[in-house]
């Protein structure tokens, strides 16, 4: 009896003391993926780390991209009551919050990549790779800040996210003045440029991508001195813009694509013309994909019931800028960019719906096509649109999916740099006949205009309009107005106020053949008040609530803290 008790007690003690080798048992880092300590060990892994900056963190910016870049600019029509079209933006606007979240996450990821490459890269990673990867990340960071400063104006400079968190000061930061943000962008690009190779793998940022961006930054910065009453731009900045743009034009070896509409086709995602682009894919992970087609394409344009852009038109003002009149059934078609930018009644697109012999933008065929027509301005978007599943397979070898295409979004094109050069050379002059500037402008125009006769001089209106025709619907045109507003706010506002942002009456009946003639097809005119135009988008209200400093005046940034 007693023995049994002792034996049992011994077993019990053994069992109670059988605490396993706890530390091993309890140490469980992520098991099905890498950790930052185990990654960045090869060149390929380092490149893979920066690949992600070419798509996902930008995803949330997509909807705001067109609304800010082209609806505010008066190129894209979302309805006269749309807050972007009518300039009644509020700080609780979801697209603004998303755009802001997206741009800041790009900055955070880029900061992280630079830090991780510095601290974690393995001994087998070459210096060239480290430099290239950091250079790409810094250029993307500059790009994000360039959007931030042009959208929101003064914004905080977040140079090291981890440091702000560990010092618990993330809610104490102040906005930096716009001029400091531009200085920061310039410094970031100057840091990136020597790290970047002259040529890089297709689609990746190279040294000339950064030069091109730097030229554009200097051009914007040239007018910014805090005074928005009409004044001249900084000649030093204009010279820098011209210098860097010239480097791209003369030294990069890149050429304009011969056919304008080819730039926006899936097969040309990595074209020479494209200096900086988002490179999407159709992947299992949400945010890896391009979703523009859903917002912008005609309803039922693809097979996935995932397009709802029927009522998103091009403004009558842009139609007129291209010399088109939607109330007529015939097109003038002098400028190839018109058809590559906007579909109008009677247009035929061989590159959309290739499996069905091409796509006819024809309101009378609505039923046969299963397409819904209804744009109040008589036109719909062409850029950012791929077509149907067959077109996607032809262009990329893979199918699309619901709200997902792989079409790259070009943020900085060679033609843009040509026009930057022309504008920088024109500078504060009323007009110029500088031959190199003329060549840049004429090269861009000659590509698209039938029977083109080169111009022999140009003024600011010419270049401003050319940029609009060349870059409409690429999310960029609004920033031309922002740039102008830096040194002549009234001029920028008046240009916007002069735009016809209205709609056509009775277009539906006319296009569908219900009306015998177009006598009742009239413009329902709608314009904005110059005084309602704001050139800064309100900061998202979540941030204002968390950090009251954001509602206060900007505080100059201490550049000695960043190390370059």
């Amino acid at each position: 009896m007693k023995n049994r008790i002792i034996k049992n007690l011994a077993i019990a003690t053994l069992m109670l003391s059988s605490l396993t080798s706890c530390q091993d048992f309890l140490n469980r880092p992520t098991e099905d993926s890498y950790t930052i300590d185990g990654f960045y060990k090869t060149d390929e892994q380092c490149f893979q780390s920066v690949n992600t900056i070419y798509n996902s963190p930008w995803y949330d910016f997509q909807r705001g991209f067109i609304k800010i870049g082209d609806v505010l600019a008066g190129n894209v029509y979302y309805g006269t009551d749309n807050v972007y079209q009518s300039f009644v933006l509020k700080s609780n606007d979801a697209d603004i919050a998303n755009a802001s979240a997206s741009l800041w996450s790009v900055n955070a990821y880029c900061n992280g990549i630079v830090e991780n490459i510095d601290l974690k890269a393995g001994p087998n990673v070459t210096l060239a790779t480290k430099n290239t990867v950091k250079g790409e990340a810094l250029t993307w960071k500059a790009m994000a800040y360039f959007y931030l400063v042009r959208c929101f104006g003064a914004v905080p400079i977040i140079h090291n996210n981890a440091a702000l968190i560990s010092s618990n000061t993330y809610n104490n930061v102040y906005k930096a003045p716009e001029s400091d943000v531009y200085t920061y962008i310039v410094k970031t690009l100057e840091k990136a440029i020597p790290m970047l190779p002259e040529t890089n793998a297709p689609g990746r940022i190279d040294r000339y991508s950064a030069y091109g961006l730097l030229a554009k930054v200097y051009l914007a910065k040239s007018g910014l001195d805090g005074d928005t009453i009409a004044h001249t731009r900084s000649q030093a900045d204009l010279d820098k813009a011209a210098e860097y743009a010239a480097k791209v034009i003369d030294e990069s070896g890149r050429k304009l694509m011969p056919v304008y509409s080819d730039i926006f086709r899936l097969a040309n995602n990595f074209s020479e013309e494209s200096l900086i682009a988002w490179h999407w894919t159709v992947g299992a992970q949400w945010t890896s994909q391009n979703t523009f087609q859903s917002d912008l394409a005609l309803n039922n344009f693809s097979e996935f019931a995932d397009t709802w852009g029927t009522w998103v038109g091009l403004t009558i003002d842009l139609e007129q800028a291209f010399g088109e009149n939607a109330s007529s059934l015939t097109r003038v078609n002098t400028d190839a960019r018109r058809k590559a930018t906007m579909m109008m009644q009677g247009d035929h697109y061989e590159y959309f719906w290739q499996d069905k012999g091409g796509f006819d933008y024809d309101w009378t065929k609505a039923t046969a096509q299963g397409i819904t027509y209804g744009s109040p301005t008589g036109s719909n978007l062409v850029k950012n649109i791929v077509g149907d599943n067959y077109d996607h397979q032809q262009g990329s070898g893979m199918g699309m999916a619901r709200m997902a295409t792989a079409l790259s979004t070009h943020l900085l094109r060679l033609a843009d740099v040509y026009l930057i050069y022309a504008e920088a050379v024109l500078g504060n002059n009323a007009s110029t006949s500088n031959s190199k500037a003329l060549k840049a402008l004429n090269d861009v125009r000659a590509r698209s205009i039938k029977n083109y006769v080169p111009v022999t001089s140009f003024n600011f209106d010419d270049i401003f309009k050319e940029r609009r025709l060349e870059l409409a619907c690429e999310g960029d045109n609004w920033f031309d107005y922002v740039r102008l507003s830096y040194y002549d706010r009234a001029a920028a506002a008046n240009r916007l106020a002069a735009q016809e942002r209205g709609y056509w009456n009775n277009l539906d009946g006319w296009y569908k053949g219900v009306l015998a003639n177009n006598s009742t097809v009239t413009i329902g005119t709608w314009k904005v008040n110059a005084s309602d135009v704001e050139f800064r988008i309100p900061f998202p209200d979540t941030d204002l609530a968390m950090n009251p400093h954001l509602s206060q005046d900007p505080v100059p940034f201490n550049f000695s803290t960043i190390g370059y």
Binding site: I5, S56, S408
Partner: protein, 1065 residues
């Protein structure tokens, strides 16, 4: 041993036998313990209540049974029949505590029981549903009325910001794994909403009919033994076990019908036509619709609410066999449940088995096995969302039929273009399927090493598997079409095992009784998933992703582990003074080497005043009085694994594979710890007629685990698939203070008639005490997407709604000019700016914290708390002869509901949306001076074409209205988040009325039936509330975290009319 042996030999000369019956209904009671007083010698009654044993002259026999008054008789030879009375005070009841049992009378902590009788009074399909209104201190809110859906349980308030604030459930000692239950974690993507919680319940895989008792451990002294898992409260569930005797079979069956009783008052066709015509006239740029020219010719049109709600049958059947020999007891049950949802397209069914066995292998060694398997199949729908079926149905206009003339689904169209998918088609054609398997059980040995010392060694496991499928068919509904289908499957596999050993030692030293417990536990859990998705399957008939193109797979796995040691000591002095000390040490893999281990202590003491001599003068009036006090610590470790480091995750890109840092690491992350003080009083008074339990508590959760709330410039906001993950860490402090009252009253008790009443009242006050960051740090919750609807500020209760305060309607230009400025430069336009008829908002504050006479985002403020001040349950049990009637009411008081659904339903922004009938009383404009002839050139030289465009000449014709004017796009932001949509969420619900009849024994005996009870039950018969939506019981949001009480089309809880049978033979 020798002494006992001697006694055995020379005593026991008398034979005594008899039957023990229930004094209440005369039925025999099996399993009554019959002991010789002062010894462990005795027997138990058999299945027929009979016993027989040998006793000694002069012995006293003690008859005892759980829930019955103990009875003592002097032993004598012959027949001794005993009637046992139910123990009104329940003092002698043995209740489950962590890692053991205790007499209720010995407890010093705060816990409540839910017995099988209470479980049976309601129609419940998930065990968590049983908790509503049944236990003080427990708030139980149905997340949805969908079959099988979850109930959010909060024990003593919301203690954490974590998505998982649910208590720990322990079934027969096995902790139930609350594996991630968001729709996306099952592989259903956003089909069930985007929140961290969904309506799918981890507990719906457990058959509630197997349960005999639920014990809710509330204060820290009770839960501390669960250490790092105890801070949200612990619910101990005991399932039925067999008793010695011949096999006993029982059948419990129920058949019911469910319906949605309430309909919202939306416009019918005639009203909608009138509204559309007026809208076209009142808003700019839109033409009226020709088909609505004469609304008087129109009927009522399509009632989409009637179309999406259906009468839904439900049935459950459980068969149980139980019994046993001296050494082996068994209970085996099988059950089937099938329930359709009251919203079309939703169903739930479950098949489950349970086996509970225990065997006395040797005198000193006992073996136990509890095993349960369940298989569930669900067809789920999305209700609570802008895209949900309830919203879609309500917004669908009455001029659209459900089917076209060929019997195909239509679509809600706008100029021949589908603006909204047909809600019926969406609900019935799009599949969201979830099949789950669960095996949960344990096997244990209990060895009595020396008298009073028991070693319990146990292996427990909980295995879960699921298969989810999302199928989107090729479809054409009117002008809405989808020409490529898609199919996604996901398999999840989760395992959990636990080994625990604990030694319990009971020792009586005179008046001192002591229990010591020492234990150890090791557990590991893990998960795996594999998914496959494709598009373009040949047709809709075969749902196999392999048949489609662009096949995409996904996979992942992970695990976590925990090692613990624990100890408890309890002391009882003469049933007057009680004390308990508990200690637990946990090590968890969720934390880094810096902070992996944490200790948890608790202490409690109580004093039974009624056992003191000085009490004897009032013992007849107050038969039991006990004061309890306790303090303790518990923890919470519910965070994602590896928050202490930074993982790399994959992202495909147009440049090839990409890998990126997923989150910002926090190596110092540690346990969330909670400290709680509890003060309690138990009273039994007035001839045992009343039982009163009062508890007061104050608990503080520190180092709250949560993602750091960062402004967007830190890069951690936006789409979770694209943003950098904010660091998880210990960032806040929450306090909950409260009072709980349970009053049980035996109003009337006779042989033929009895009436008992239970009342539970729970008061809780909740406050965010501190949060990391600046004074302005706050926790935000969002509505459907990025719209801030709740904001938890320091010093305020959690999840306060946050928005603007309305101040009536602008009557005319002067009213606008005399009110705080909105936007603009003094120019007004009907379509682009504020205008008479718009909502006036209050100027609360400005950039400097003081009102600035401007309406902007600084004017948002706390507009109400979704947290109830009081929740209550009130139960009446009445028995008359063989009839029993149970009426149970529950409710909450003082909480606000945000009627998010009403924002779109009264926005008047689009004539393609149906609206609530309140829009008929919207602000309408009229000319002040009807004599002005337009076009008219005003003083500033502007030509005005119509009187309604002339702001100088318009005013609201119905000044008393609260609904703003109709205007496309809403330039004034009338639909912004504001107190316009805040409603009183208080309610009193007649939760259950159950009427039962137990057939008389005389009749049953002839049919060899032991008991037969038939009953009818009505659930949710009536709800008294001011809330204008379907159902004021909203609970946690399935759309976003940190939001509570937001109704965006929550699936309303149905009324259930049911009929059931309980049969034992």
């Amino acid at each position: 041993m020798l002494l006992t042996g001697f006694g055995t030999i020379c005593a026991q000369s008398l034979s005594v036998s008899g039957v023990v019956t229930d004094a209440g209904d005369g039925s025999p009671i099996p399993g009554v313990s019959v002991l010789i007083k002062g010894s462990v010698k005795g027997t138990m009654t058999d299945a027929n209540g009979k016993y027989a044993m040998k006793v000694n002259q002069g012995n006293t026999l003690v008859f005892s049974f759980i829930g019955m008054d103990k009875q003592e008789f002097s032993a004598r030879a012959g027949v001794l029949n005993v009637q046992m009375k139910s123990d009104a005070t329940m003092l002698s009841e043995v209740v489950a505590i962590g890692y053991g049992t205790s007499r209720r009378s010995d407890l010093s902590g705060a816990s409540s029981s839910i017995t099988t009788e209470k479980l049976k009074a309601s129609v419940i399909t998930n065990i968590d549903q049983a908790l509503q209104g049944r236990a003080a201190g427990v708030t139980a809110v149905y997340t949805s009325g969908q079959p099988g859906s979850s109930v959010s349980i909060r024990v003593r308030g919301q203690n954490t910001i974590n998505a998982n604030a649910e208590p720990l459930y322990v079934i027969d000692g096995v902790p139930v794994q609350m594996i991630g239950h968001s729709g996306s974690s099952f592989g259903l993507g956003d089909a069930l909403g985007n929140g961290a919680t969904s309506t799918v319940s981890p507990l719906s895989t457990i058959n509630p009919a197997d349960i005999i008792n639920m014990e809710i451990l509330k204060d820290a002294s009770a839960t501390a033994i669960y250490g790092s898992q105890g801070s949200n409260g612990v619910i101990l569930i005991t399932t039925k076990h067999g008793q010695k005797g011949e096999a006993q079979f029982s059948y419990e069956g129920l058949y019911g019908t469910q319906r949605q009783a309430r309909r919202l008052d939306v416009l019918n066709l005639k009203q909608f036509a009138e509204y559309s015509n007026e809208m076209a006239a009142e808003t700019a740029g839109r033409e009226g619709r020709v088909e609505f020219l004469d609304p008087s010719l129109l009927g009522t049109g399509t009632n989409w609410q009637d179309a999406v709600f259906q009468l839904a049958p439900m049935q459950t059947h459980t068969v149980t066999a139980s019994g046993g020999s001296d050494a082996v007891h068994y209970m085996v049950s099988g059950s089937y449940m099938d329930q359709a949802g009251t919203v079309v397209g939703t169903t739930f069914n479950r098949v489950s088995f349970r086996t509970n066995m225990d065997a006395q292998l040797k005198k000193w060694l006992k073996l136990g096995l509890n095993l349960s398997y369940a298989k569930t199949a669900e067809r789920l729908g999305l209700a609570d969302s802008d895209e949900g079926i309830i919203n879609t149905a309500l917004l669908s206009t009455p001029d659209v039929p459900i089917y076209d003339m060929y019997g195909n689904y239509t679509s809600v169209s706008r100029q021949d273009v589908a603006s909204r998918i047909n809600p019926i088609a969406k609900a019935l054609d799009e599949d969201n399927l979830l099949n789950r398997n669960k095996l949960i059980g344990n096997i244990f040995l209990e060895a009595t090493l020396i008298p009073g010392m028991v070693l319990h060694s146990e292996f427990a496991t909980d295995l879960n598997g699921s298969q989810a499928e999302r199928f989107r068919p090729i479809a054409k509904y009117g002008s809405w079409s989808r020409t490529i289908n898609s199919d996604v499957w996901q398999f999840n596999d989760n395992y959990f095992w636990q080994v625990k050993n604990y030694l319990t030692y009971n020792k009586n030293l005179g008046l001192n009784k002591m229990t010591l417990m020492l234990g150890q536990e090791t557990s590991e859990g893990g998960w795996k998933y594999l998914s496959g998705a494709s598009t373009g399957l040949p047709d809709n008939s075969i749902h196999n992703p392999q048949l489609g193109s662009d096949f995409v797979t996904g996979s992942g796995f992970g695990s976590n582990s925990m090692v613990s040691a624990f100890a408890r000591g309890s002391w009882n002095y003469n049933d007057k003074y009680f004390a308990t000390y508990t200690f637990r040490m946990d090590g968890s893999s969720n934390f880094g080497p810096e902070n992996r281990w944490a200790p948890f202590h608790s202490m409690a003491a109580s004093w039974r005043l009624s056992n003191e001599d000085f009490w004897s003068s009032i013992i007849d009036q107050v038969s039991n009085a006990k004061l309890r006090i306790g303090w303790g610590q518990t923890g919470n470790q519910n965070i994602a694994a590896y928050s202490w480091g930074a993982a790399i995750s994959k992202m495909e890109t147009g440049l090839g594979q990409g890998y990126r840092q997923s989150n910002i690491a926090n190596p110092y992350i540690q346990w969330e710890t909670q400290e709680q003080v509890n003060l309690g009083l138990d009273l039994t008074f007035l001839d045992k007629r009343f039982d009163l339990v009062v508890d007061m508590y104050d608990k503080v959760s520190k180092n709250m685990l949560m993602p750091l709330q960062l402004p967007s410039y830190m890069g951690t906001r936006g789409n979770v698939s694209s943003a950098l993950g904010a660091p998880n860490g210990n960032y806040g402090t929450i306090q909950n203070k409260g009072l709980e009252i349970t009053l049980t009253s035996h109003n009337y008790t006779t042989k033929d008639f009895s009436w008992d009443t239970d009342l539970q009242l729970s008061f809780n006050q909740n406050k965010l005490v501190a949060l990391d960051g600046t004074d302005n740090a706050a926790i935000e919750g969002y509505g459907q997407w990025t719209d801030v609807v709740s904001r938890t500020e320091i010093g305020q209760p959690l999840y306060n709604f946050y928005g603007y305060v309305t101040d009536g309607i602008y009557q005319d230009l002067a009213d606008i000019q005399n009110s705080p400025a909105v936007r603009g430069d003094g120019k007004y336009s009907r379509t682009g700016t504020v205008y008479p008829g718009d909502i006036k908002f209050k100027d609360i504050s400005g950039p400097n914290g003081i009102p600035d006479n401007k309406i902007d985002e600084y004017d948002r403020t706390n507009i109400g708390s979704p947290m109830p001040k009081v929740t209550f349950g009130f139960n009446n049990s009445i028995r008359y002869k063989n009839f029993d009637l149970n009426i149970f009411m529950s409710g909450s008081y003082g909480n606000k509901v945000y009627n998010y659904m009403a924002m779109n339903l009264s926005s008047q922004k689009s004539i393609w949306n149906n609206q609530l009938a309140v829009v008929n009383n919207r602000a309408k404009l009229e000319p002040i001076d009807g004599s002005i002839v337009y076009p008219y050139v005003n003083s500033t030289g502007e030509t005005i074409n119509n009187w309604f465009d002339d702001i100088d000449n318009v005013r609201v014709s119905n000044p008393g209205t609260k609904t703003p004017r109709a205007i496309q796009q809403d330039p004034n932001g009338n639909t912004r988040i504001s107190d316009r949509y805040i409603e009183d969420g208080s309610y009193l619900r007649i939760k259950n009325i159950a009427l039962g009849y137990t057939l008389p024994n005389a009749i049953l005996k002839k049919c060899h039936i032991q008991t037969l009870r038939v009953y009818a039950n009505i659930q949710n018969l009536y709800t008294l509330t001011k809330y204008t939506g379907f159902d004021p019981e909203i609970g946690v949001s399935t759309a976003s975290t940190n939001v509570y009480g937001l109704d965006n089309g929550r699936y309303p809880s149905p009324q259930v009319y049911s009929f059931g049978v309980n049969l034992t033979f």
